[in-house]
Each structure stands twice: as structure tokens, then as C-alpha cells.
């Protein structure tokens, strides 16, 4: 089974006056993929999405959808449909007419239009609500209507601009799974823009991380988490302890380095690293560290320190541990098994780390 490329973006650039919103964007998406553009606000991710949709022209490069060049093709002629951040439900139309809005232009028969509207509403679990007024819908229902209205057009690509940001936390989590299920069932390519790393990770096949108009890394969520390409990507996704290390040698794809606080360790070379310098920056995820009152067995590096902060988070317990010579305390996260906080502020503790848990991040960023 071969999957076709559905979107090919190469060398795309967008300027607003002297400000470059998107620079040298290169991205290839496969048919049936759930892709997320993740980044802080103002990083250019929404501009990128709007260029794919056709609401904004690109100043350089090319965008191809389904093999066709999109230059000079306006949004209403593109095989894409969009779910807007505000949902943009037409307030003067009822639910059925909202969903049928785009179908009217296709000049289908009345029966077929009604059938497709019913099917689309069924799909988002709003079956039978055709005559409900748009103004009487709840936030979650508006989101579902926006989805149905776009999906009823059977687009090649569905574009979603922060689709869940207006919903409260519980509803947002429920919709994450539901949208993922829907996307897998339909096999349509979804491109979502979000600033929420958890949303991106739970829903996407692949994530592109953008900073200041540039796409920094495109990878599967687990790769992005385990092998981020730089300090800024690592800091944006999940928690991370950053430690300096002095490299003493490199053998068979492993860096031998003296890690600040933990001593000599053997670190896997991270193939994603873009920039290297004389000094190595290493990262350790808080949940990858062992914390114990006695020296734990079976770890490759140890650190002896004092607890400066202990906090109960429900599903896990967070500690801050510090020792002489560290500028920042080390964050440790332990799963909550027995509903207890085992180490108190001021307690002496041991931290243990495995070689495989230390991430090579290349050079420290200024």
C-alpha cells in the first residue's frame, strides 16, 4: 500500500511589510495523516494554515495540494475546508442550513443534500438537530457543527485553526479523542494549528514545531519528546532539566561526557541536533529520574542533593533538588502510587539516571 503525498510545500515565505511571518517553509504531508503545527502565539503557524487554505498569498515558494499547484487559486476553489477558531457558525441559519451551506453551490438534488447533511450530523453525534437554531447551541455543539459543515464537503484536507481552544478542559479532552477517531474513520488529512503541546501530542501522527516563522522540527510525538532537535523545542514540549556537559570522546555513536552534577556518562548521539558547539547541552526529563533517600542500585549516574521544594500534583509528585555547583534546581516527577509525599523540604536525597535517559541537545542557546 502506497500513500500519496497530499500537500507539498516548498520554500514558502510570507512577509507583512518588513516582518517575515513565515520563512522557507518546507513540508510534505501524506494522505490520511493527522498533522499538527505547534508553536507559541505569533510564530507563524496560523499564517501557514491560512496560506494552505488560500486566505493569504505566499510571497515565494510553492504550495501543491493533491499534485496541483495552488498559485492564484482562491480559497473557494481549493480542495480544502476549514474549521475556524471562532467556529464561524452562521447565526441567521439553523444547524441544517449551516451544514448544507457549501452543498447548495454543488447543485445536488434536494434529497441528496438532505441525506449528506443528515450523515454529516450523525458523524459528529448531532443527528436530528437540523432545525435547531444556531444561536441555541452550546460551545461543544458549535464546534461539532463547524466540523460537520466542513466535512460534508468531503475535502481532501481539513484545516483546523485552534479548534479546541474555546472549550473548557473536560470537553476539550473528550473532543480530542473524538476528533482523532473521526479522522481515522474518514481517512482525510487533518492539519491542525495549536499552541497546546498536549493537544498536539495526543491527536497527531506527526507534529511540526514552529518558532519565529521557522519550522524547527517535524516528527512523531514520541520522537519529538525523546529526541528534540534543540533547547527551545525541548523546552516547549514537556518539562526538561538542562545540564551542561564536557565531551571527552565519541565512540560508536555515543558521546562520553562529564555531566554537571552526575559525573561521567555515555550519551547517545541525537541525529536531530541542528547546531553543535564546544560545550554540550544535555537534557533529562523529570520523570526519567529516580529519587530515593538511600543510594538506589542500577543507575549510571548519581547526584546527591537536598530537596528544596515538594509538591503534590495528583497523578504525580514533583520535587526540586539542588546541590552545590548547580545554577538551577533539578526537577523530578514521580508517579503517585500511595498518595504520599515521601521526601520533605530539606531532606537529603539521591538522584539516579540511566545513560539512555540523557538527551543530547547539541549547543546551548543564548
Amino acid at each position: 500500500m502506497t500513500t500519496q503525498n497530499i500537500i507539498e510545500i516548498s520554500g514558502v515565505e510570507k512577509r507583512f511589510g518588513t516582518f517575515t511571518a513565515v520563512r522557507d517553509l518546507n513540508l510534505t504531508l501524506k494522505e490520511g495523516e493527522f498533522f499538527s503545527l505547534l508553536g507559541p502565539s505569533g510564530c507563524g503557524k496560523t499564517t501557514a494554515l491560512r496560506m494552505i487554505a488560500g486566505f493569504q498569498d505566499h510571497d515565494a515558494g510553492s504550495i501543491r495540494i493533491g499534485g496541483q499547484d495552488m498559485e492564484h487559486i482562491p480559497a473557494n476553489k481549493r480542495p480544502t475546508n476549514m474549521v475556524f477558531q471562532s467556529y464561524a457558525i452562521f447565526p441567521h441559519l439553523n444547524v441544517g442550513d449551516n451544514v448544507a451551506f457549501g452543498l447548495r453551490k454543488l447543485k445536488l438534488g434536494k434529497a441528496e443534500t438532505e441525506e449528506r447533511v443528515a450523515e454529516a450530523l450523525e458523524m459528529v453525534e448531532l443527528g436530528g438537530l437540523q432545525s435547531r437554531k444556531a444561536t441555541e447551541l452550546s460551545g461543544g455543539q458549535r464546534q461539532r457543527v463547524a466540523l460537520a459543515r466542513a466535512l460534508v464537503m468531503r475535502p481532501k484536507v481539513l484545516l483546523l485553526d485552534e479548534p479546541l481552544s474555546a472549550l473548557d478542559k473536560n470537553l476539550r479532552e473528550a473532543m480530542q479523542f473524538e476528533m482523532r477517531r473521526l479522522q481515522q474513520k474518514l481517512g482525510i488529512t487533518f492539519v491542525m494549528v495549536t499552541h497546546d503541546q498536549y493537544e498536539a501530542m495526543t491527536m497527531s501522527d506527526r507534529i511540526g514545531v514552529m518558532f519565529k516563522g521557522q519550522l524547527k522540527q517535524v516528527d512523531k510525538p514520541e520522537v519529538l519528546y525523546a529526541r528534540p532537535c534543540s533547547q527551545e523545542v525541548a523546552a516547549f514540549i514537556g518539562g526538561m532539566n538542562f545540564l551542561d556537559a564536557a565531551v571527552t570522546g565519541e565512540v560508536n555513536g555515543k558521546l562520553h561526557a562529564d555531566l554537571q552534577g552526575f559525573g561521567p556518562l555515555s550519551i547517545d548521539v541525537n541525529p536531530n541536533v541542528a547546531r553543535r558547539g564546544p560545550q554540550l547541552l544535555a537534557g533529562i526529563r523529570p520523570e526519567q529520574l529516580e529519587i530515593s533517600a538511600q543510594k538506589p542500585d542500577g543507575y549510571d549516574g548519581y547526584l546527591q542533593g537536598t530537596v528544596t521544594n515538594a509538591a503534590f500534583y495528583g497523578e504525580n509528585v514533583h520535587y526540586h533538588v539542588t546541590t552545590d555547583g548547580l545554577s538551577q534546581p533539578i526537577a523530578v516527577s514521580v508517579p503517585n502510587y500511595f498518595h504520599t509525599v515521601d521526601h520533605k523540604q530539606g531532606d537529603p536525597v539521591w538522584l539516579g539516571v540511566q545513560n539512555a535517559s540523557v538527551i543530547d541537545l547539541g549547543a546551548r542557546e543564548a
Partner: protein, 283 residues
């Protein structure tokens, strides 16, 4: 029911309830002032319909008797009816032109950031502050030098000028609460630019359009100075009434006409309010 209310809370509640009772009763100056103000404002207006039923040509008490003849005579006066028709034509055309211009201008002002936007907004609002007599005389000079004779056409042109600020500001507030992504969504769903305007923009700003039509019609229907200068031998109703008011014998007719106009404008206002409330409910 049996939930015990704590003692301090109970005391607080009873204190809050009894507080207004202790306030000393004062003479309601504000109420007197308000009523006096309303009488001053509306009594002259109410005298108009009252004397329109008076069986006599002198507008003074005591009244002589009840009659409907002044109303009956209105229908026989061809020049009056013609003036009424003129005013309706001018008002309707002015309302349509000013509202259409206002609709497009307001959309541009709210949606786009372009060079000279603030300057052009200022210029559009200028007729509100220029004295009518200046506008009227300069327009008359302009139209005559262009070879346009004073007629209903020149009155319409003048009225569009003075009604435009009202249309633009009403339409601007209609576009202010209009989410731009609604138009984008329609376009994204395959609709053309014109189709988007027709199927989404127009219906959503419709209450604003109705309000603008009613207000600009009223502005035009009422307007005297421009019409006086620009109407030539086709007087509008205000110009006709002004010309009649010099003849004492015609005064009761004018009162009858004025009463009818008063009734019509109250009905118009109630209709506009009804539509406004209905649209506010659905939004």
C-alpha cells in the same frame, strides 16, 4: 427547610431589609422636575392634534367645537398631495442611496486598514457639523454652474449628502459585532465573493440596514433648508407647509397634516423598535 441560619447572618439580613424604612421621606424634587420637563417638551406637540379638530381658524382657547373638516379638506388639495408624493420619492431614494453607500463604506472602514481611512471617515461625518445654510447655498451654486436645474434630483443629491453620516455610523456599528471569519467561512465553503455578500453579509447586517433606511428616510423627510434651496418648483412637504403657514385660513389644514405626520412617525418608530428587538433577540 430546617437548615439552621446562623445568628449573625440572620441579623445582617433583617438589618438589610429594614434599612430603607428608616430613610426620611423627602419631597420628590427630581420627579417634579422630570414631569415638568416632559410637559415642556411634549405639550406643544400635543396641542397640534388637539387644535386640528377645532371648528375655527384661530388657534386659541376656548375651542369652538369638534370637526373633521380640516382632515377632509386635505384630500382635495392637489398641491399638498403633490408635495407629499415629492417628499416620499425624495425620502425613499435618499434612504436607498445613502444606505447602500453607507453599507459599503462601513464595511471598508471596519474591515480594512488603508491609507487615508481616518481622513475619509472624518470627511464622511463632516455634514453633521457644517451649517445647513452653507451647504444649501453652495450646493445651489454648484448645481446651477453644472447646468443642473433645481428639482427633486438636486434635493435627493443634497439629502444623500446630509443622510450619509447617519447611514455610515449605523452600518459601522452593525459591522462592529460581525465576526470576519463568517465571510471567510462562506468563501471557504465554495461560495463566490458576491454570493458570500448576498448569503452571509447582507442577512447578518439586515437589522442595521432596516434601521439605516428608516433613519435616513426620516432625516430626508424632515429636512427643510436644503429642500427650500434646491427644490425649485417641486416643493417637498416641509417646504409646502412653510409656504402655507403664512395664510391664516390654511393653518387648520396644516395642523391636520402635522397631526397625521406625527401619527405616522410614531408608528414608524414603533415598527423600527419592534424589528430592532427582534433582531437583538436572535443575535
Amino acid at each position: 427547610m430546617s437548615t439552621p441560619v446562623s445568628e449573625p447572618l440572620n441579623k445582617q439580613l433583617s438589618a438589610a431589609v429594614s434599612k430603607p424604612r428608616r430613610r426620611p421621606i423627602r419631597f420628590p424634587w427630581l420627579l417634579v422636575y422630570a414631569i415638568g420637563y416632559l410637559i415642556f417638551l411634549y405639550l406643544p406637540v400635543l396641542l397640534l392634534p388637539l387644535f386640528s379638530f377645532n371648528d375655527g381658524t384661530i388657534v386659541a382657547f376656548p375651542m369652538k367645537g369638534f370637526t373633521l373638516k380640516w382632515y377632509a379638506q386635505l384630500g382635495e388639495q392637489d398641491t399638498l398631495l403633490q408635495a407629499m408624493v415629492n417628499s416620499l420619492i425624495v425620502g425613499a431614494v435618499t434612504a436607498l442611496v445613502a444606505t447602500s453607500l453607507g453599507l459599503f463604506a462601513a464595511r471598508a472602514y471596519v474591515r480594512y486598514r488603508f491609507k487615508g481611512r481616518e481622513l475619509s471617515e472624518g470627511l464622511v461625518m463632516l455634514p453633521l457639523v457644517i451649517p445647513g445654510i452653507i451647504v444649501a447655498s453652495s450646493m445651489l451654486v454648484l448645481f446651477i454652474s453644472l447646468g443642473l436645474k433645481p428639482s427633486l434630483t438636486t434635493v435627493i443629491l443634497g439629502h444623500v449628502f446630509v443622510a450619509l453620516p447617519f447611514a455610515v455610523s449605523i452600518m459601522k456599528s452593525a459591522f462592529d459585532d460581525f465576526d470576519q471569519s463568517l465571510e471567510e467561512a462562506a468563501f471557504d465553503l465554495g461560495e463566490s465573493v458576491i454570493g458570500t455578500f448576498r448569503r452571509v453579509t447582507l442577512p447578518i447586517v439586515a437589522p442595521g440596514i432596516v434601521a439605516s433606511l428608516l433613519v435616513t428616510f426620516t432625516v430626508s423627510f424632515d429636512e427643510f433648508v436644503l429642500a427650500f434651496f434646491l427644490s425649485g418648483n417641486q416643493p417637498t412637504l416641509p417646504v409646502y407647509i412653510w409656504s402655507q403657514i403664512r395664510f391664516p385660513a390654511k393653518l387648520p389644514n396644516t395642523l391636520a397634516l402635522g397631526s397625521l405626520l406625527l401619527l405616522a412617525s410614531v408608528l414608524l418608530l414603533l415598527t423600527a423598535e419592534y424589528f430592532r428587538r427582534r433582531s437583538a433577540k436572535s443575535a
